[in-house]
């Protein structure tokens, strides 16, 4: 059944050791295009480590990860991002001194072409449509004259690619902020945002890089039930927009409610894989989570 679908990401017998500690032990699973896959397990089971291998932060000791049929291991994080993998962090890692919209624009930049010299000299000009020309709207005569000059010059010489990309980035960033529901906070510093908005901002920033795969690392941590419900909606919306989502989460209600399939890790090993319903009834999983019977390990 899974074979009919197109594999986006393939984790192939990945083992990772830190010193003497085996963090991941021969883990294999696949992620299909358009699905939401949950990755769960008790604290310290190796979920985040697995995640880090998939996003290129760690290099596995053996095994490999294929994304879109291309090898992902050994690639640098920014290259992996360019391949189409974006992620959020378990312990929020925004750029705290940048405003919300700037945070998202860092993401949009990864799809832009302006080089350093391009930003410096802005000589690469592009003809623009009339509606994109600078507006003349000031009531102050002096300023108005200046705006007219700017408009005319843009009409004749066009605008620099830098300017256009900057505007496109800003537009798109605002859209994404709207999508996650914090557009009214666009100009606030990331560090001043409430906790929940920071989590949402991380998602917006990751989406800004136009990924094929969005990896969410405990996005609901610290959320109250109402917020969790909002998140649930958001994740579904994102999936409906055509993204593939990998979700690491503790909150069972959320995981059970939103995912198509679930992979369960314990002690760096995969102990189960299946639909939420299958996982819910799996005795190994129950043992791992509830710790009721020791013999199941």
């Amino acid at each position: 059944m899974p074979d009919e679908r197109e594999v986006l990401l393939d984790v192939d017998h990945v083992t990772l050791r830190f010193g003497g500690v085996v963090a991941l032990n021969d883990v294999s699973f696949s992620l299909y295009k358009g699905e939401i896959l949950g990755l769960i397990g008790p604290n310290g089971a190796g979920k985040t480590t697995c995640f880090n291998v998939m996003t290129g932060v760690y290099k596995p000791t053996s095994g490999g990860v294929l994304f879109d049929d291309k090898k992902i291991t050994g690639k640098k994080p920014h290259e992996i991002n360019r391949m189409g993998v974006a992620r959020t962090f378990q312990n929020i890692r925004l750029f705290p001194e940048m405003s919300a919209i700037e945070n998202v624009m860092v993401g949009t930049d990864s799809r832009h072409y302006t080089s350093v010299l391009g930003a410096l000299f802005r000589l690469y000009r592009v003809k623009v449509k009339p509606e994109e020309l600078p507006r003349v709207d000031s009531s102050n005569g002096l300023v108005r004259t200046w705006q007219q000059v700017a408009r005319t010059s843009a009409k004749i010489f066009g605008l620099s690619r830098h300017t256009l990309e900057e505007r496109a980035g800003e537009r798109k960033s605002l859209e994404l902020l709207r999508l996650v529901g914090i557009e009214h906070r666009a100009n606030e510093l990331a560090r001043n945002l409430p906790y929940g908005d920071q989590r949402r901002l991380e998602i917006a920033r990751a989406l800004a890089t136009e990924p094929k795969l969005l990896c969410l690392d405990e996005p609901a941590a610290g959320f109250n039930p109402a917020e969790k419900e909002q998140l649930n909606q958001l994740i579904r919306k994102i999936r409906d927009m055509g993204y593939t989502v990998l979700l690491i989460e503790h909150d069972m209600r959320l995981v059970m409610g939103v995912t198509d399939r679930i992979v369960v890790l314990e002690f760096g090993k995969k102990i189960a894989e299946g639909t939420p319903a299958e996982i819910r009834d799996n005795p190994k999983v129950i043992a791992a989570y509830l710790g009721e019977s020791a013999d199941a390990a």
Binding site: G19, G20, V21, P42, N43, G44, A45, P96, R191, N192, P194, Y195, E218, A220, A221, G222, F223, N224, P225, H250, D251, M252, R253, V255, M256, F267, R280, A287, A288, Y289, L290, G291, E292, S293, A294, A296, A297
Partner: protein, 236 residues
């Protein structure tokens, strides 16, 4: 009353992590704090042990206001925390880590006795006494962290996620040891993900959600509370 938190708020930068927590720990109790990741459990611990300054509120220990006392002085008063993420000193041997636990103590006989006791509780640590702590496995590091905390002979032992990353069998053991320590007279404040275990051992428990206490009760009460069940086990 051994420990009392009165309306404690705590901030990281501008973000408020605790919004007015009040809780009490009686002498001889095991009290469990449970809640999801990011709910403020660890922040509460850090407030008690003095790693983060309070934004407002008051902490009273043994009848004394310790709200602004430095962390190392709180240890001398008898509060010892085994930090989350294990927090062992990776470059030191197991033995040295345990010695660090007894850093503020001068009674060498008592220290030796406690060392015996810790090695008795965790024979694994004795086997690895000369090994650098950084090379231990996760479970062993956890044992070391708990053992180290015991070495200071605290009146109040703060345990932050002692079961994290441990196999069920070892979790069982750790909780047995916690119970044993408690029976020997140490008061324990426990932060746990593993709500099942924690609540079944604790005399009382508090449930935290986004930086505030939403429920309090005895361990058994909370354990049977359907809302708690659903939140932590994903089953209604």
């Amino acid at each position: 009353m051994l420990l009392e938190l009165q309306d404690v708020t705590l901030k990281y930068g501008r973000i408020e992590a605790l919004h007015g927590i009040s809780l009490q720990v009686e002498e001889g109790e095991i009290v469990a704090l449970i809640g999801a990741n990011g709910a403020g459990k660890t922040s509460t611990m850090r407030a008690v042990s003095g790693l983060n300054p309070l934004a407002s509120g008051k902490i009273v220990f043994n009848g004394e206001d310790i709200s602004t006392l430095r962390a190392d002085l709180r240890v001398i008063k008898g509060i010892c925390q085994s930090p989350e993420g294990r927090g062992v000193f990776p470059g030191m041997t197991v033995r040295e880590n345990l010695d660090m636990g007894a850093y503020t103590r001068r009674d060498s006989a008592g220290i030796a006795a406690d060392l015996e006791r810790v090695f008795g509780l965790f024979p694994r640590l004795l086997e690895r006494a000369k090994q650098a702590a950084g090379t231990l496995s996760g479970g062993e590091q956890q044992m070391l962290a708990v053992g180290r905390a015991l070495m200071s002979r605290p009146k109040l032992l703060l345990l932050d996620e002692p079961s994290m990353g441990l196999a069920p069998m070892i979790i069982q053991q750790i909780f047995d040891i916690i119970t044993e320590i408690n029976q020997q007279g140490t008061t324990v404040l426990l932060v746990e993900q593993n709500a099942q275990q924690a609540l079944s051992r604790a005399h009382r428990g508090y449930v935290l959600e986004t930086g505030a206490i939403v429920k309090a009760g005895t361990g058994q009460d909370l354990l049977t509370d359907p809302a708690v069940k659903e939140a932590y086990l994903g089953v209604a």
